[in-house]
């Protein structure tokens, strides 16, 4: 059975914990008839937490819509707002289509972006081939990284004036 449910978040840091619990409780109910491994809810929690942080810290607006969609053996968590465009999208014109471009690297992780179209970027991570870890160089901002690693697919779309981050988790 396909399901969809939306929630409105007020972009306040003080609301993060209660809002996250509300969404997770709803998600547990929606997934009750779907087969999934034990990691799915943990990964969904990581993703929801980071998307909420992103809303509070970077959206530049007062309202964000979160939507869960379960269909075709996948769970999609989408965050949409009318706020600030992701800065990386301003550089999309310089990115080659369908070619991975390194966004950040710190010895532990490499985060890449791919321009899928003029309105859509996708993110993924690779472990560095030559692992040289210098603690002092480790990044302290890792929200996008966590989502990219937890999700099976993670995209950012800008269809003016709407920003949408979308994380997809395979149920099987």
């Amino acid at each position: 059975m396909n399901t969809r449910q939306s929630f409105e978040f007020d972009n306040q840091a003080s609301s993060i914990s209660s809002f996250s619990h509300q969404m997770l409780e709803c998600l547990v109910g929606q997934l009750v008839n779907h087969h999934h491994d034990g990691q799915l809810l943990s990964k969904a929690r990581y993703i929801i937490g980071e998307l909420l942080n992103n809303a509070v810290k970077h959206s530049g607006c007062t309202k964000t819509i979160f939507t869960f969609t379960i269909e075709n053996d996948s769970l999609t968590i989408a965050k949409s707002d009318y706020g600030t465009k992701l800065e990386l999208m301003n550089k999309a014109g310089y990115l080659k289509s369908d070619v991975p471009t390194l966004v950040t690297a710190d010895g532990l992780q490499e985060l890449y972006v791919i321009k899928e179209s003029e309105q859509l970027l996708s993110f993924f991570c690779r472990d560095p081939q030559n692992e040289e870890i210098t603690i002092q160089h480790l990044h302290e901002h890792m929200g996008l990284l966590i989502i990219a690693k937890a999700a099976d697919r993670f995209t950012y779309g800008f269809n003016a004036p709407v920003n949408t981050f979308t994380a997809t988790l395979n149920l099987n």
Binding site: A13, S14, I16, S17, Q39, S42, R45, Y46, G49, E50, N53, V56, K57, L108, Q109, D127, I133, I135, Q136, L138, H139, E140, H141, M142, G143, L145, I146, K149, A150
Partner: protein, 113 residues
Amino acid sequence: MLKIVNEHPQYIVAKVDIGEANLTHSDQFKTELVSLLNYKQRNVWLNMEQVTYVDSSFLGALVAGLKYALGAGDDLVLLGLQKDVHDLLKLIRLDKVFKIYADEQAATVALNQ
């Protein structure tokens, strides 16, 4: 947020006294951690058994604390991570830079070898 529960000549054990370690706690936690490292000038072992969830901002504060500790010639050790918290550290490979043990006893055995 950080409560000292045990003091040794080589290290301090401090309990992280929150359940969900998120954006609303990370700045204060980082301030308290750096103050503790400054004040005690020795390794800090963080007992995190009460913490059920961490987000990127709190992990960022932990990384900042680790950098500060190592820069001062000390270390930051994590104890008692719950499964979801430990799994997140493994997911983003921070388990490769933090020393992580089940409890103070396990850390004592491992680090004294």
